[in-house]
C-alpha cells in the first residue's frame, strides 16, 4: 500500500513538475512576445496610436472683403447659427422633429427634406435643418436642447452682402460648393470651404478671395468625436485678399433708384481709368437669402420668373444699340471720307436703295415733321437722330469698315472687360460673320439698317458704356475693369499696360472726335430752337443741367414692324415694346463719367433712359459729399 502510494505520488510529482516547466516555457514565450510588441516594435505602434487619436481638421479661411471705391464694405463674412440633427444620436426622429416644431417654425418642405436626408445620409454627420436662426430661436433652443439629444446648434461662416439686392449684379455672389465642383477645385485648400465664387467679381477673383486653409490637430475618440482637450497643433488660416472695386456705392444707389422697378441695366465707367463705377441690373434678388436657404418655392420662382432676376443684364443682356450706334457709323463715314461735316442729305422721311422698292422710314413719322428732317448734315443728324441720313451712310459704307472700327476702336463684338468672366461679347456683323453665322451673303439692306444700329448688331450694356467711354475720351479706348486695388498681388491677373489703353493718334481723327462730342452735347443741351431743331433729349433732361453733358439716345426694336404697319406703343404687349437706350458722358471737356442705360420695353430712349443716365451723372458731379474744410 505504502509502496503503491509512493509510486502514485512519484508519478504525480513528475507530471506536476512537467506541467510547471511547461507553464514556465509558456511564460517565457509570452514574455518574449510582449517584449517584441512593447519594446522592439514600440515605434510602429506608437505612431499608430497617435494616428488613431489625432485628427487633423481643416479650418476654412475667412473670405476676403470687397470694398467700394471709397472703402465702404460691400461684402464681408458673418457667423450664422444653424440647427442641425445628428442622426446616430436620435432614437425617434419624428418625435424630435415634432418637439422642435413646437419651439421654432420649420417649413413642411424643410421637414420633408431633412427626413429624406436622414434616411439616405451618413449617420454621424450633422444634417442642417434650419439656417440663420434668430436670437429668439437660439434662446428657445438653448433652454430646451438638453431634452433633445442629437439636436445641435452649429456656427457657420457665410458671406454677407451689404445692400445685397442693389449690389448683387455688380459684385456677383458665392454659392455652395457642389459635387460637380470637386474635380475643379484644390481639394486640400478647399477642404473646409463651403462656398465658392459663382458670378462676377466673386467668381473672377475666387482664388485670391478664398485665402489659404488652416488646420488644427485635435484628439478624437474612437467614434471620431473630439475630446475636450486643447488642440495639439494649430495653423491659422490665411484670410483672402481684400479687393477694392471702382464701384461707387453712392452712384450705384442713385442708378438703382432711378431705374426703379423697371427691367433694365445701368453701367457707368470712369473714362480716365476704365473703372466701372456702376453696374445695375434689374430686377435683382437678395443674395443673402439665397445663401441662408430660401424656401423651396421661392427658389424656383427666382429661376423661372419671366423677368429673370438672376440674369445679369449689365454684362449678359444683349440689346440692339439702335440710334446710340449712329455716332459710331458717323465716325466710320468721316474716317473713310464717304462724307464730311458739311455734306447735306435730303431727308424726306423715307429711304430707298437705288433700284429697290423697299422703304426704310424715319423714326418720327408722326408729329411736327412727319415728312422728314429736310436738309440734314452730320451734326444735326446726330442731335436729331436722323434715320435717313444714317441709312444713307450705312448704304455708302462697306460693312467691314464699320465692323473694323466697332471692334478695334470701340471694343464691341469681343470681350474686353478686364475681370468679369461671364461677360457676353455681342455681335458686330461683317461679311465673314454673316456667311459663318447665317450662311448668307451680306445684302445692301443689311448695311442700311446697320446705319441706325439695328439688324444683326447687338451688345451688352457694358459694351454700350465702353462705347460712350471712347467718345468721352475722344477716341481713346480704356479697358473697363472692376478692380481698383488689392491688398496683395493677385494670382488671377497680370497687368499689361499696353492692353489697358488704345490711343487714337491720328491728328485728323482728333478733330472728328471733338466735333462728334459736340454733336452729342447738342443732343442734351440744344434747346429753345423749335421742335425740329432741339436735341432729342433736351426736353427730357437738358433744360436744367448745371454741367455739360453729351449723350445719344436710342430706341431698339424688339419686334419687327411689318411694311406699312405702325408701331403703336399702347397696343403692343409690354414685353414687346421697344427698349429705351441712352449713352452719355460728362462733363463735356474733361469727362469723369460715361454711362449707358437700357430700359427694357421702356419705349423711347430720350424720354425713358436719358433721365436715368442723368441721375447717375448728377450723383457723380453734383451730390459730392461735402468735406468740411476749416483752413
Amino acid at each position: 500500500m505504502t509502496n503503491e502510494r509512493n509510486r502514485d505520488t512519484h508519478s504525480f510529482e513528475d507530471r506536476v513538475l512537467m506541467l510547471v516547466l511547461l507553464g514556465f516555457v509558456m511564460l517565457i514565450l509570452v514574455l518574449t512576445r510582449l517584449y517584441y510588441l512593447q519594446i522592439f516594435d514600440h515605434e510602429t505602434y506608437q505612431t499608430q496610436s497617435q494616428k488613431n487619436r489625432i485628427q487633423v481638421q481643416s479650418i476654412a479661411p475667412p473670405r476676403g472683403l470687397i470694398l467700394d471705391t471709397n472703402g465702404e464694405l460691400l461684402a464681408d463674412n458673418r457667423q450664422i447659427l444653424s440647427l442641425s440633427l445628428i442622426p446616430e444620436r436620435i432614437a425617434d426622429v419624428d418625435a424630435v422633429l415634432a418637439q422642435l416644431q413646437q419651439l421654432i417654425k420649420i417649413s413642411p418642405d424643410d421637414l420633408k427634406n431633412v427626413k429624406e436626408r436622414i434616411r439616405l445620409g451618413s449617420r454621424h454627420a450633422p444634417i442642417v435643418l434650419k439656417r440663420d436662426l434668430s436670437e429668439q430661436e437660439e434662446a428657445l433652443l438653448a433652454v430646451n436642447r438638453h431634452q433633445m439629444d442629437g439636436v445641435v446648434v452649429t456656427y457657420e461662416t457665410i458671406r454677407h452682402y451689404f445692400d445685397g439686392p442693389k449690389f448683387v449684379h455688380a459684385i456677383g455672389t458665392v454659392r455652395r460648393i457642389t459635387k460637380e465642383d470637386l474635380g475643379d477645385i484644390d481639394n486640400v485648400n478647399y477642404r473646409a470651404t463651403q462656398f465658392i465664387g459663382g458670378t462676377g467679381v466673386e467668381r473672377f477673383y475666387e482664388r485670391s478671395l478664398h485665402g489659404v486653409v488652416g488646420s488644427r490637430s485635435v484628439e478624437i475618440d474612437a467614434s471620431g468625436r473630439p475630446t475636450d482637450k486643447q488642440p495639439i497643433a494649430l495653423t491659422q488660416p490665411e484670410r483672402g485678399a481684400t479687393l477694392t472695386l471702382h464701384i461707387d456705392s453712392a452712384l450705384q444707389l442713385a442708378a438703382d433708384e432711378a431705374l426703379g422697378d423697371r427691367r433694365g441695366a445701368v453701367v457707368a465707367i470712369d473714362p480716365r481709368t476704365g473703372g466701372i463705377l456702376v453696374m445695375v441690373s434689374k430686377p435683382n434678388y437678395d443674395p443673402n437669402r439665397l445663401l441662408t436657404g430660401l424656401k423651396a418655392g421661392e427658389l424656383d420662382e427666382l429661376y423661372e420668373h419671366r423677368d429673370k432676376p438672376i440674369f445679369n443684364r449689365a454684362v449678359q443682356g444683349i440689346y440692339a444699340p439702335g440710334s446710340t450706334f449712329k455716332p459710331v457709323v458717323g465716325m466710320a463715314a468721316l474716317q473713310t471720307g464717304v462724307t464730311d461735316w458739311d455734306e447735306i442729305i435730303q431727308d424726306d422721311g423715307n429711304f430707298r436703295l437705288p433700284g429697290s422698292s423697299q422703304v426704310w422710314r424715319s423714326w418720327n413719322r408722326e408729329g411736327a415733321n412727319a415728312g422728314g428732317h429736310g436738309e440734314v448734315a452730320m451734326h444735326r443728324a446726330i442731335y436729331r437722330s436722323a434715320n435717313v441720313y444714317f441709312y444713307t451712310m450705312g448704304s455708302r459704307l462697306e460693312v467691314d469698315v464699320i465692323a473694323k472700327l466697332a471692334i478695334d476702336r470701340f471694343g464691341l463684338g469681343r470681350s474686353t472687360v478686364f475681370d468679369i468672366a461671364e461677360a457676353k461679347v455681342g455681335v458686330v456683323p461683317s461679311r465673314a460673320w454673316k456667311r459663318e453665322a447665317h450662311n448668307e451673303p451680306w445684302y445692301p439692306g443689311d448695311s442700311v439698317i446697320l446705319g441706325i444700329g439695328q439688324g444683326y448688331i447687338n451688345m451688352t450694356p457694358l459694351q454700350l458704356a465702353t462705347m460712350a467711354t471712347v467718345f468721352a475720351n475722344r477716341g481713346d479706348w480704356v479697358q473697363p475693369r472692376m478692380l481698383k486695388q488689392a491688398d496683395r498681388h493677385l494670382m488671377e491677373i497680370t497687368e499689361n499696360p499696353e492692353e489697358l489703353r488704345v490711343v487714337d493718334t491720328s491728328m485728323e481723327m482728333r478733330s472728328h472726335w471733338h466735333r462728334m462730342a459736340l454733336a452729342m452735347h447738342d443732343v442734351v443741351h440744344r434747346g429753345f430752337k423749335g421742335y425740329d431743331q432741339n436735341g432729342t433729349a433736351w426736353a427730357y433732361i437738358g433744360m436744367d443741367i448745371p454741367y455739360t453733358m453729351a449723350g445719344k439716345s436710342g430706341t431698339a426694336q424688339v419686334i419687327a414692324v411689318e411694311q406699312g404697319e405702325e408701331y403703336e406703343e399702347e397696343e403692343v404687349d409690354e414685353y414687346e415694346r421697344n427698349h429705351a437706350l441712352f449713352i452719355a458722358f460728362a462733363p463735356l471737356e474733361s469727362p469723369e463719367i460715361a454711362v449707358a442705360v437700357v430700359v427694357e420695353n421702356g419705349g423711347g430712349g430720350s424720354k425713358f433712359a436719358a433721365p436715368v443716365a442723368r441721375a447717375v451723372i448728377d450723383a457723380k458731379l453734383i451730390t459730392q459729399p461735402v468735406i468740411a474744410n476749416r483752413d
Binding site: 503503491e4 502510494r5 509510486r7 502514485d8 505520488t9 508519478s11 504525480f12 510529482e13 507530471r15 506536476v16 506541467l19 510547471v20 507553464g23 514556465f24 509558456m26 511564460l27 509570452v30 514574455l31 512576445r33 510582449l34 517584449y35 510588441l37 512593447q38 519594446i39 516594435d41 514600440h42 510602429t44 505602434y45 506608437q46 499608430q48 496610436s49 488613431n52 487619436r53 484628439e219 478624437i220 475618440d221 474612437a222 467614434s223 475630446t227
Partner: protein, 370 residues
Amino acid sequence: MTEATLFQSRNPRALAWLNYLHFDGWLFLGLLLILGLGLTVMTETLSHAPALLIRHIALIVLGLTALLILAQLPEHLYVGLTPIAYVGAVLLLAYTLFWGDEAKGAMRWVDWPFVPRFQPSEILKIILPLSLAWYLHDKPAPLGIGHALVCWVIIGIPVGLVFLQPDFGTTVLVATGSLCVVFVAGLRWRWIFAAVIVAMVGFVVAWRLFLTPYQISRIVTFLDPDSNPLGAGWNIIQSKIALGSGGVTGKGLGEGTQSHLSFLPEGHTDFILAVIGEELGFVGTAILLTLFFFVFARGMIMSRSAASRFGRLMSAGFLMMFFGYTLVNVMMVCGLLPVVGAPLPLVSYGGTSIVTMLAGFGIVTAMQRS
C-alpha cells in the same frame, strides 16, 4: 509552510487569531499582489463608471471572503459534496441553455433575484477538477483507458452544454484544464499520444462541421487581422497598438489613449492586459505575468503536499485551469491566439470569474489540511 508563517508577528498576541486561520501565506500574497495591480489599473479604466468599479471591488471582497471560508472546511466535506455539486452544475447549465439571458447571440447568463447575474459555465473551473478528483481519487496510477473514458463522460456532459450556448472559448479551456487532471492522475503515455492524435483529427472535423460562422470568422481574423480591420480584426489590431505604444514603462496610469478614447473595446474585461501594457509598459505586463506564474507554481507545489490523492488531483487541475486561462488570455491579447472569450483571471472585470477563481484557491488551500 502550511500555516501562516509569513505573518508571524513580533507581538504574537496581536495576530494570534491568524494561527487559527488556515491559509497559505505565499499564495495569498501572490493573489493580493495580482488583485492590487489589477485593481489599480481598473480604477482608472472604470473612472467613468464608478458603479461598475464598486461592483468589481465588492466582488473581490466577496471572493476573498469565500477563499478564507472555503480554506477552513475539511476535505471530506468536499469529497461528499462533489457529486451533488456536479449534478447541480449540469442542471444549472441545462437551465441556462433554455431560460438563461441572451447576450451577444449566446445563452451564457443567469439572472436570478437577490443574486448577482452570473455565468454558470465559470463554476466548471472548480466543479470539473473536483469531480474528476472525486472519481479518480481511489483509482491509482497508471490509469487505463477505461477510467479515462469515464472521465471523458464526466467532462463531456457539462462541457457539451457550454458548447451549445455557444461558448467555444470556455469549452476548449475547461476541457483542456480537466484533461490535465487525468494527465496528473497518471494516464498511460500511450493513451495520451492517442488522445493527441484524436484531438487533432477532432479539431479538423469540428472546423468543418460544428463551428459557427462567427467562430470561424474569429479564427480567420486572428490569422489575418488586417483582412477585416473595422470588424472582427479591430480588437486584435487595437490591442496590439495599445500594448506596443506602451513601450518600456507605459504612458502612465490613466493616460492610455487607446482605452480612454474607446479605441480598445472591452478594455476592462478580456483586454485589460492591453490597458495595463499601455499604461504601465513592458515593466507592468512582465511583473504581472511573473506574479501569475508565481501563484501557479506555488499552487502546483502545494498540490504535491496535499493530504490526499483527491486533494492533489483537485489542486493540480484547478491550477491548470487558472494558468491555462491566464495564458490563453495573454496570448489572445498579444495576437498569438484568436479572440476567444477568455477573461484574465483575477484582473478582468466580471464577477463570476473572480469569485470562482478565489473560491478555487480557497479549496486548494483546504486540501492542505490533514
